[in-house]
Symmetry: C2
């Protein structure tokens, strides 16, 4: 076992290899002008001492330029964000950058806290699924050269590079598919309009109904279903109505799961189409508005890299496409 001893430093390695610290630095970082024999000796010494260079010191000395990129996310338990994070991670690691990930559980105070912690750690760039109402506090950071990329939702009261899906068009197309399948009373189950994505998706839902000449029934609007459990309850309510909907458009994958649970429990005949594809949607015969979460993550990382290279370049706001995938009765009735 051995006792806990301090870590070896460059100076320790220098002493053992009988060279200067600068030579050790050069030898280990692969600098060109080092005698091969010296390099070998240094490497051997470093290995003997189990030397691990201190990245804090290195990055401090070299102007606080780290190789860490921060990604602030709402909810790790939602598989959607896992896919986005995987896309980010893959794009970053290809560039030798490390991902620092923090979850906010969609709490604005937590967001501010972790963002500040990351900035103090001098992250190279900040990717953020925004939740707070006001991101003015981030404006200053970009001035200091920290690229900021909004992911899945734009910042509030602030401009930045961003990647979002074409939520409104996607929702519109999804509802059109339900209409084409013969549905006329179509409910919306999802989050409140305070959440950007659901505000957009709700607008798309309304676009589609209006274009079909249908007037909207407020009783079919359940924006109180932000998570699985609440969406399930909202759907139960809908099914108990005197004049229940024949189909539901689910605002995201959480809502869709909730609707599926309620539908199964009630044994009800209820059409369903959800925003967000997921692993078992096909197995369940569930039609969805599909998109590429991993691509979104990768694009966000790309934007950050581009902004690192060109801090003053023009702001880029990417809108990724969606597509309707029909799998259930919505398909057969076309």
């Amino acid at each position: 076992m051995g006792s806990v001893t301090g870590r070896a430093t460059l100076a320790d390695v220098a002493r053992l290899a009988e060279v200067s610290t600068k030579t050790v630095s050069r030898a280990l970082s692969g600098a060109p002008n080092v005698d091969p024999a010296t390099r070998t000796r240094v490497q051997r010494a470093a290995h003997t001492l189990r030397f691990r260079p201190n990245a804090l010191a290195r990055e401090l000395r070299s102007g606080g330029v780290t190789t860490t990129v921060g990604f602030v996310i709402g909810d790790l338990t939602n598989p959607f964000y896992g896919l986005v994070a995987a896309g980010v991670e893959r794009a970053l690691s290809r560039q030798g950058l490390t991902l620092m990930l923090a979850a906010t559980e969609d709490d604005a105070a937590a967001e501010a806290r972790v963002v500040v912690a990351m900035l103090e750690r001098r992250i190279r760039a900040l990717l953020l699924v925004p939740i707070a109402d006001d991101h003015g506090y981030l404006e200053g950071e970009r001035q200091f050269g920290t690229p900021i990329v909004a992911v899945d939702r734009p910042l509030s009261n602030a401009t930045s590079d961003s990647v979002v899906f074409d939520n409104r068009t996607g929702a519109h197309d999804g509802v059109v598919a339900l209409l084409a399948a013969g549905h006329r009373r179509i409910a919306f189950v999802g989050s409140s309009e305070s959440l950007y994505t659901h505000r957009e998706r709700l607008a798309g839902y309304r676009d589609a109904l209006a274009a079909a000449g249908l007037h909207e029934d407020p009783a079919l609007l359940r924006t109180d279903g932000p998570d699985i459990a609440s969406a399930e309850r909202a759907t139960e309510d809908l099914l108990r109505m005197a004049d229940p909907p024949t189909a539901v458009f689910a605002g995201n994958n959480r809502a869709a799961v909730g609707v599926l649970r309620a539908r199964r429990a009630a044994g009800a005949d209820l059409g369903l189409l959800g925003f967000d594809d997921f692993e078992l949607a096909e197995t369940l015969g569930l039609s969805v508005v599909a998109h590429e979460p991993e691509q979104m993550g990768a694009m966000a990382a790309e934007l950050a890299l581009r902004r690192m290279a060109d801090p003053m370049g023009v702001v880029e706001q990417l809108v990724l496409p969606t597509r309707v995938v029909l799998r259930g009765s919505e398909r057969s009735m076309r």
Copy 2:
């Protein structure tokens, strides 16, 4: 917009507030002996300059003790790990610690790379879902006082604190449930025995068959189904057999999804019970060996905290329980 300027330092704040740097340090870090008026003046100056303390410098000066904990994970796209990560994150943030997360895509070389990168960043503790064959290189690190906790699988060729599920018992109980439902030809679909969890689960599967006096049919052992697509293909093969299995025990949630897909595509009558519970298992009427992934993450973080407080304490190897949850035909036939 303004141009990119350097960040303000403690010295800049000191100059503006007309005090020494040490006073600024004290005032901002909430040290006791500071005149309230001075503190206010300093805070105002810091705010004016948008001062963000440099955590690199602080942590370097205070002995390289960071507030970051590293978590190295195989696959972010598997919702199971998202849940584990959420458990880790929650437990850490309660202690004011930040999570640094890296994915290895279950590649041993990538694991070594990111582990080293984290150690160089002087993470306070390392949580790791191990993939490499030999973790001898980590032994030295613990000597230097970096707690290491293995998550979901133990380290290879090395001892450490760890949290795993009771895979063998869980699998045994799951197969017993299939036997109780009347199945006699039960296939195993999952990863190869080189993966600890599946080796254990396969052992549990065998235990159950042996206890029932059944002899094992090698043709029913499909350890070539580590991911959804391969598990789906393996199941297709099984269904094409002259004497196909009547049920499958799926080694993890990836395998279960693959089996579900193949079963649906073939319209086959095939019993199924999977290791790992997941969101839609209930909706699908799927019986599972359930456990608490978030708890696993939280326990791993706890172990790390405990080891930080007591580096030389006795190694703790936690084994978390599993439970069989019957939902489909396995239930009705009891």
